[in-house]
């Protein structure tokens, strides 16, 4: 009697563990499906022309995604210029003021910013930049993506700087180094690794964003580098081609997806694995 109930319990234990493992395995399967689909369909269209040419009109074969690549690059630069300085300074502020009502409010704002849907950010950039200037533009896309990068950079800067022992700051101050120099020349370099990781992750986050660009950067079939004019971006390219009815364009979308995916995953992996090597030891 007792024997059999014990056996039942052990069976339940084993079965549950197997179920957990099975479901976990199923949950990571999509990653491989996606990688497989994108690689299989994407790699076929990738060649030098694909990366360096502008899109071809409907009906013509060939054509590439150079406008999307250049546009994404431009948008990343613009958004980084906006978000990195503010984000790092805010991160320093929060790391230096761990308690206090104001720091708490500031921290809460960062967390809320992190959770705002990207389409809402797109509308904000539309209201703030597109409406006053009267035109879709790279800069409005940069503002949208910059707002999305900001909380990631703030959080990772704060987390990194919090882990730096106070003794380091005291060592510097005890040498008669002023507070600004202590922060900028001792604390920031010691946390550089984590801050760079945060910036890379934030770039990875926004590079794949489409929604906030729909009515800001808008997209453009030309090689545009004027920040006051609309530009394309890789995710916009994917979206426009993927939702088109033409199979040739679907092929371009697979290729653009492949490029985008490789870039985003590489950034993520670099941030998570690669930078560990250069971590400062205390």
């Amino acid at each position: 009697m007792k024997e059999s109930s014990l056996r039942r319990r052990i069976f339940a234990d084993r079965a549950f563990q197997a179920l957990v493992a099975l479901l976990s395995f199923c949950a990571i399967l999509p990653m491989f499906f996606i990688l497989f689909f994108i690689t299989k369909n994407g790699i076929a269209v990738i060649n030098w022309n694909f990366l360096t040419r502008l899109p071809a009109p409907v009906g013509e074969t060939g054509g590439g995604i150079a406008n999307g690549i250049i546009g994404s690059g431009l948008l990343i630069v613009l958004s980084s210029v906006i978000a990195v300085p503010v984000g790092v300074l805010t991160g320093i502020y929060l790391a230096e003021h761990r308690k206090g009502k104001f720091a708490y409010l500031s921290r809460l704002s960062v967390e809320i910013l992190m959770g705002i849907p990207s389409i809402v950010i797109g509308i904000i950039a539309y209201i703030w930049v597109v409406m006053p200037t009267g035109s879709f533009s790279a800069i409005s896309g940069g503002v949208a993506l910059g707002i999305m990068m900001l909380p990631v950079i703030v959080m990772s800067t704060e987390e990194t700087l919090k882990l730096i022992p106070d003794s380091l700051k005291e060592a510097s101050l005890a040498l008669g180094v002023s507070y600004p120099r202590t922060i900028l020349k001792v604390i920031l370099p010691a946390g550089l690794n984590g801050i760079v990781t945060g910036v890379l992750l934030s770039v990875a986050r926004v590079t794949g964003e489409t929604a906030p660009l729909l009515f800001t950067a808008f997209g453009s079939p030309f090689m545009a580098v004027n920040i006051l004019k609309p530009v394309s971006a890789l995710p916009l390219t994917v979206f426009n081609y993927a939702t088109s009815p033409y199979p040739e364009w679907h092929a371009l979308a697979w290729g653009a997806s492949f490029v985008l995916l490789v870039f985003v995953l590489a950034l993520n992996l670099t941030a998570k694995l690669g930078l560990r090597k250069w971590k400062v030891q205390f």
């Binding site: 339940a12 976990s24 704002s109 507070y179 794949g208 489409t210 929604a211 995710p235």
Partner: protein, 328 residues
């Protein structure tokens, strides 16, 4: 008498002034003679800059809210409550009833939540209890993290070519109109997309369950399954709930994948196979072609709604997390 010192290194301007006259008699003076700083940023100025940066995020948040609110005013004035209760969305006849989108958003999000929970909780247990370290664990963890990094537009594109044919097949078998796209397709893709968010928090709270609790139960002869059921899950319950809540916040506002898969119909959905629209997808579809003040403003009002709802959800989630981490 004890005087408080001004915060920080206490370098007040008054004290800074005395610097010159005191630089005369000491050995360190030789070094001072060469003191030519590359940049001069006083401590007070630097602290002010940091303070401004700290305040900037709060200002940004408030500005976002106010901008959305002001831009929504025309719609709020013109439509009032009928915006939320109207079933007809027809820009041509200036009818802006957003109920179909509210319903579409809620159904897709909750269906996605339901599906994702089936997987995110096992992953949390897998990573937080069975395999806390080692190759299998770090592999699964890395893949989950990468899943969170895949752009939404790629999920949508892949969904079009992977889920849609499957669902169309099922729909044909069931005898419902075989759209393929619709609520089910978007919920499935949403589910995959939000698994990483609830799983990562779930893993964290499960791995935070104190070891002595688990060991006490094991030493009483409990199996690991019983430890999970009787010790870990009750202990980690509110943290897991917070993770699910935060992933709901994600699902509500997710745009691109849903826009590509939901079928874009402005009518109230009748089943999980119906094409529909969510708040986010209708904005993505119609914003650039919205002509007329009320039309544009009503789309912005949807964004305002999304902002308010996700913000409330995120704050509640945060509060739960803070509460549980205090209890632990």
């Amino acid at each position: 008498m004890i005087q408080p010192i001004e915060g920080g290194a206490g370098q007040t301007p008054a004290r800074a002034k005395t610097r010159d006259k005191t630089m005369t008699q000491t050995k360190a003076e030789t070094a001072q003679a060469h003191y030519r700083p590359g940049f001069t940023l006083s401590e007070a100025a630097f602290r002010k800059i940091l303070y401004l940066a700290g305040i900037s995020v709060l200002v940004l948040l408030i500005a976002i809210f106010l901008s959305l609110l002001i831009a929504s005013l025309p719609s709020i004035k013109a439509l009032g409550i009928s915006f939320l209760t109207g079933r007809t969305w027809d820009p041509v006849t200036l009818k802006f009833g957003a109920l179909p989108f509210l319903v579409g958003t809620l159904i897709t999000s909750f269906l996605a939540l339901l599906i994702s929970t089936f997987f995110s909780i096992p992953i949390s247990i897998f990573l937080g209890y069975y395999y806390r370290e080692g190759k299998a664990s770090s592999f699964v963890k890395t893949v989950i993290e990468l899943l969170a990094g895949i752009p939404s537009v790629i999920y949508g594109f892949w969904g079009l070519f992977f889920f849609v044919p499957i669902i169309r097949f099922i729909e044909t078998a069931l005898g419902v109109p075989p759209y393929g796209v619709g609520i089910l397709a978007s919920s499935l893709i949403l589910a995959i997309m939000i698994i990483p968010y609830s799983a990562s928090l779930g893993r964290e709270v499960i791995s935070l369950v104190p070891n002595d609790l688990k060991e006490a139960a094991l030493s009483l002869g409990a199996t690991r399954f019983e430890v999970i059921r009787k010790v870990i899950l009750p202990y980690a319950r509110s943290g897991i709930f917070a993770g699910i809540l935060l992933s709901l916040g994600r699902a509500l506002g997710e745009t691109m994948a849903v826009t590509m898969l939901i079928g874009n119909s402005n009518f109230l959905p009748t089943s999980i196979f119906s094409p529909a629209n969510t708040m986010a997808s209708v904005i993505a579809n119609e914003f650039t072609e919205a002509t007329g003040a009320v039309y544009l403003s009503s789309l912005i009002e949807l964004a305002l709604l999304l902002f308010v709802v996700t913000t409330i959800i995120n704050i509640i989630g945060k509060i739960i997390i803070i509460k549980t981490s205090f209890e632990a």
